[in-house]
Symmetry: C2
Subunit: 281 residues, 2 copies
């Protein structure tokens, strides 16, 4: 909060020409090789600096089941015991991440696959045990992201591809929510770039009627968001995502877009894409 | 071969102050957490630019067995079918690589875990099918390694940690021998650095009598190597490794050391370490 006011003149001058897109994809893209292929092509075509953040997908769940691990979920969050951490390190950090990198390279995008441990880019704190022990889960705070270091990697010509893993700086890898990684990266890099955070999912964007893809809301600013919340027009499941998005905007991120992973190409063609959240629409 | 003659004056000038160690470790370190901890501490203490290359270990074999995959080995080489490739991508690229990175970060070494696909650093060709189909195995040639690009990563302050995976540039990951990756990196980077290639294994070095660790040969140059070969003093199992090592030296690598992973610390203390192969001892 208020970090936008600390932007230096140098960084502000850069804002005009250094666009950065931070794009998060989830299971609906990762689990379908055709969707993934299409998305990665659109991602490569997008002009400007880019960071990809990906979550897991069905593969981690399937491998856990094959290995006889019991999936434990409390309040919608997976408990990451040491065996589950091994599985997500293999699947997120290895299988998914490195196959995405190899495919991006095929399209001419010089990708580099990363966890938060690589380059010490994202250091988190293991979630304290209160009523629930979430296990090896890392929580991000405002000191987590090394923005300058990530920036130097991009300046060297590499496209960072982050999976949903971080580390505690003491040798321990930690499972960390990909949505949160994406917004933390966006906020941390907002001082250095004209930053747009994009959440790709399976819907066209924020809908007035969750069953009607035509009811897409194109633009949202904080005032309109409050009105729609008051009128209970926005589906309650979207509220945490939108609250986080407006927090990111308040912290200097220029815009947040929530849209369908298959339509990312519209952005490059200057066509409407998803729901655009900004300070002033 | 002969690449040493193409070294530019600039690079030669650099040779005086830019030491690079490329160190390969195998299963005997990776499979034992105490050995690994000890080795990674010594690796971190070593002055100069450093690249770590690691192979697999028992974990990949164990996971394959748990998943019911049949290990197929022909002429001492593992056949990499698509399911085995998935396993090694998970284990080498995810589990082993990222845990090594997290531990190096703990020791203050700014490691970055890589496959050859990341940064397009090592592009290989799928081994042609002749009498045997080795599956998804990549062979390195002299165009495989992007030395300048790896150098720029090290100049930015990062320590590359390569696992035994490369890519074909067409979206396909490929399993690639870690020894070969290490020597290819050493040869490719020999123009830019005063490069030492180190193979760490479970013996003290090249032994005159394989059953007597006290029979260590401290120094080997091509002439003495030929003499020992003629007298059949060197164990035949070491010959391919040593032939490769002398080829690397002929291509500009300053020295190759073959030694015990637990004794790497001797190098930093200027104490004798393993068998040192060089053009002139």
């Amino acid at each position: 909060m208020g970090r936008i006011h600390s932007v230096s003149n140098k960084a502000e001058a850069n804002h005009d020409h250094k666009n950065l897109y931070i794009i998060k994809i989830g299971g609906n893209v990762i689990d379908n090789s055709e969707n993934l292929h299409h998305f990665l092509k659109d991602f490569t075509s997008l002009d400007g600096y880019k960071i990809l953040v990906h979550g897991g997908g069905k593969v981690a769940t399937q491998l856990s089941e094959t290995l006889g691990l019991e999936a434990r979920v409390v309040d919608g969050r997976r408990i990451t015991d040491i065996e589950t951490l091994r599985v997500v390190t293999m699947v997120y950090g290895g299988l998914i991440n490195k196959n995405i990198v190899a495919q991006l390279q095929r399209f001419g995008n010089n990708a580099m696959g990363l966890t938060g441990a690589d380059g010490d880019f994202i250091q988190t704190k293991k979630r304290p045990v209160k009523s629930i022990d979430y296990g090896f889960v890392g929580d991000i705070d405002e000191t987590s992201v090394r923005a300058e270091s990530i920036s130097s990697l991009m300046d060297a010509g590499f496209t960072p591809v982050f999976c949903a893993l971080t580390h505690d700086g003491e040798g321990q890898l930690l499972n960390t929510n990909a949505d949160t990684i994406a917004s933390a990266l966006a906020v941390a890099l907002a001082d250095l770039y004209h930053t747009t955070l994009i959440y790709c999912f399976e819907k066209k964007g924020v809908l007035q009627d969750i069953n009607d893809e035509e009811s897409l809301i194109r633009e949202l600013d904080p005032q309109r968001y409050e009105e729609l919340k008051t009128k209970q027009i926005i589906h309650s499941g979207m509220l945490p995502k939108l609250d986080n998005a407006f927090t990111a905007i308040a912290c200097g991120v220029k815009a947040v877009i929530i849209g369908h992973s298959g339509e990312l190409g519209s952005l490059q063609q200057n066509k409407p894409f998803g729901t655009r959240l900004s300070q002033n629409s």
